[in-house]
Symmetry: D2
Subunit: 308 residues, 4 copies
């Protein structure tokens, strides 16, 4: 349970005060505001603020494309058109601000997405809490033998026990030493900005993260993907649920064109045309490498199962 | 008068519907929403949406700096501290979306500020209106003789008449030919994306422009400055009035530290120390070039008068 | 012929001095350095500088992915893998700096690509030359009747004559008035920053444009596309030729996966699977709108012909 | 000693091959190419590539500002002018690519500078080396009592011993367990992407970091500052030495206007004017808070001593 009683009280307080506004309001998003969605063992995602809705995307597109956009029958059709033709700027007109609590090694992946605004809790100035990510047993994946980027089956039995014991013991010991080095109140101790170097990467940090919808969808496409590391994917999945309620038309278009879609190369399209004419194309006759052919077959055989 | 009856009706409609929200609300900004602030002869600035307020800046800073920020007595003090020490990320946590109508040559300056989201009216797809910026007589500045970047005194009498006649006549003739080349409805004519090349740079365009507060203040520092071209400065001035109502603490800090402040070089600081000790420093003994010394004297003599 | 004798002499001078360097050198690119590639009637593209080559992309990828990248047999295979899986950061490790001379209405499209560095000739400080883009007769496209974004067939005969006469006459007259308003040397005239507003959008400007390879390829995908406006496409085509000589592996991968490839939606992939099993899918049974279905058929029928 | 024999051999190999180029060459930079500058106990900074030199800054400025820039007598004068008046785009026309080895907690500060290209060694795919930052005794700063952001005097004697012992022991134990969890070759073990979470923040990582000169100078202003954390400041200092050799005019202007300069608020400038007229201004009569007044006095009393 990731929320302290104080945090729960803060959320209830924030949710108890409604105010009047002339701005665009997304009812689906209002329900999410401030509420913490639990992720992993101590993490969460909270919506702090948002700007715009599906209509705001269309409004911006209509400024740009003028009469052309009026021939599209309705907002959902227009949003699908924009997504299909890679018109990114109308989606940039919506913005979201999240409060996220997450392990440091997840934060390090996340921050590579540079087109966003971030305010992270500073371990230079403040003391980190004793909270570490310890995986569930079924998330204790073994290194894949066939694929050096992914995970194989979960560890089991004593091996799993041993790993969990190591992670817990090292985290606790490192944190004990962190506290010890910092020293008690009133006593001089090692500077916080130095002591933090003893803390392992499964310690939790938190930040405010603000991003426009276009860049958020790009983030989600990469991080809610089956090939993303499980520990960041669960955050992306939680945010997907939020976005689906915030801008339902945009999210459905995103699912169809991005998450469920695939990009085929000129070579692959050529093979496809030959196959549709009845030719039995094989890897050897495809012009693709073995790796490409395997991926191409994967696309033709159906969507990748999440987690597979 | 920049607004058509349709636009006025749209604004009144948008302002007549208030809705409930749990988000942060800036009362000062709600008064501006949708209302068009006239700028130049046909231009305007309209606030379409905003995110955050002064409190949101502090909230983000407190996530980052933790207990350190609590020692600052209040929100205004904290905001001043952040501005003084160039902490930019908390200001990035506020966002504004504007609808701006502006001459193309102003738009070309404006767009150089790259950290913003833009949806511009497309002259590829749509037909531009017959609206051109024609300066007021007292804005018809002569080229400065001493300063190749600025303006001298205004042209007068017949010379001013002649310039205004040229600008008006060429604009009208070019627009007549634009319409003629495009052809009438139902008749085939030159593609719009080509015909637009005949239109001069004082024609009006419009766009949605969305930017975070940090980057907006950077824009305002450069464009509300006395050295900015008058035609973009009036837009910056109009936006300054909006920001002052939106985030009054941040705007006051911005006025003190940025707009009214000055950056002194190491050489200039050294001169200053000598002067405070009673030494009579001259350009020759200052270590500065003539240009630098003139600027240094300007700072010591007091704020530049806008428009001077 | 876009180059003045002075520019030609400058290029010859720059090309006559070779120096020694320890940096990565792309032989293909050295041949392009400084040479102006003519585009349109007065425009050009010149390579001013570059950083990196195909090997630099691999070098950066190997820092990131370590041993994983060694299993890929060679540099071209690795580059294809990176492109196929949307690994953008290794491509960001190459950089190019171009000097481009282009009509203002093309510059306005180009500048929407924000992730680049730009230094444009300033009409605030300097006087623009009397050079305007006047299309070739076969580029005088009519507005398409079926597609409000594109061009139809070229205008012909008297209609073409009339359009060309308008474009030439208005350009010359506006430029005459520009010169007249500015005044002669020694005489006070209208400030340059104001006088420029009388110049139509087919006047030429120029800039230095610096961009990394990832963002350049994104630009090329959109602007070398058959749907891009002809006047920007010819610049993109010229740059494609340069990139093909600079980073030949990366460019071939780009052609296969991006320029010649296509993204299919989940719905389209589902149709494809049904078709490969022998089902006769129609628009009515596809789950796609008419517009989507038309585009889907276009992909299955083969690559779009440039200019069609 | 941060370099392995393999790395040393690689550097020697890279430095032994000179090639011819037509590009701008900075002799000062050629001497740095590939050579590793040691930083901290195992870290380094290596120049991998660069684009441009002082002349390239002026060349880009002259495209923009045309004749205006010719009135400035020489390149150094022009560069000083550009720096003084915050013209950032000409500095963006130079680019540098560095290979940096640095502790993770330093990397986490560094990455907040978002306008750069990064390829980091991936602990998802590869195994991290057993290398940890262990501070020198005189860098073992105590937490400052008066300033919650900085460091006080160094710990001494047994307290220092104890801290060093903790840092070393925890690093070694965590790394032993990391190896143990990963398992030996041929044996299935925990996925690398999970095992890395056990590693503390003083472990070394490495990346390629590419940035333009304008953004690099902004980074250096913040990170070579006396208030920056010592462990990132030593990297910034090493890079300052490189930049001084690469673009000596730009670096000297940077030292004068940025590193050694100071920004004064409108209120501070007003006080200064009163003081220069002979008034004895005190904090009480200054209109500044106590904190601001203290900083103002610091500026008037002379440059902050690094490390103070």
């Amino acid at each position: 349970m990731p929320l302290t009683p104080e945090q729960q009280a803060e959320i209830e307080n924030q949710r108890s005060t409604t105010r009047e506004t002339l701005r665009a309001v997304s009812e689906g998003m209002e329900r999410h505001l401030y509420t913490a969605i639990p992720v992993l063992d101590h993490g969460f995602v909270r919506v702090i603020d948002y700007m715009g809705d599906d209509a705001a995307i269309c409004q911006a597109a209509r400024v740009s494309y003028g009469k052309g956009t009026k021939s599209v029958s309705n907002d959902e059709g227009l949003i699908r058109y924009l997504m299909r033709h890679w018109h990114s700027t109308p989606f940039e007109m919506c913005e979201i601000k999240l409060h996220v609590k997450l392990p440091v090694f997840v934060a390090r992946q996340w921050i590579r997405h540079r087109t966003a605004n971030v305010n992270e809790y500073s371990a230079r100035y403040s003391i980190l809490d004793r909270e570490f990510y310890i995986p569930e047993r079924d998330a204790l994946a073994a290194q894949s033998r066939t694929n050096n980027q992914g995970r194989g089956a979960a560890l089991e039995g004593e091996e799993a026990d041993r790993v969990l014991r190591i992670l817990r013991d090292d985290a606790m010991r490192c944190y004990d030493h962190y506290e010890e080095m910092i020293g008690e109140d009133g006593q001089q101790g090692l500077a916080r900005e130095l002591a933090r170097m003893n803390l392992p990467a499964n310690i939790y940090t938190q930040w405010y993260w603000k991003v426009d919808l276009h860049n958020l969808l790009h983030f989600l496409r990469l991080r809610a993907d089956a090939h993303a590391q499980y520990e960041i994917r669960v955050y992306a999945d939680a945010i997907c649920d939020v976005v689906a309620d915030w801008v339902p038309f945009a999210f459905r278009a995103f699912e169809d064109y991005r998450m469920g879609g695939a990009t085929l190369s000129a070579t692959a399209l050529d093979c496809l045309r030959r196959m549709l004419k009845g030719e039995a194309v094989t890897q050897e006759t495809s012009g693709m490498s073995k790796g490409e052919w395997r991926e191409f077959e994967g696309i033709l055989n159906g969507p990748a199962q999440p987690g597979s």
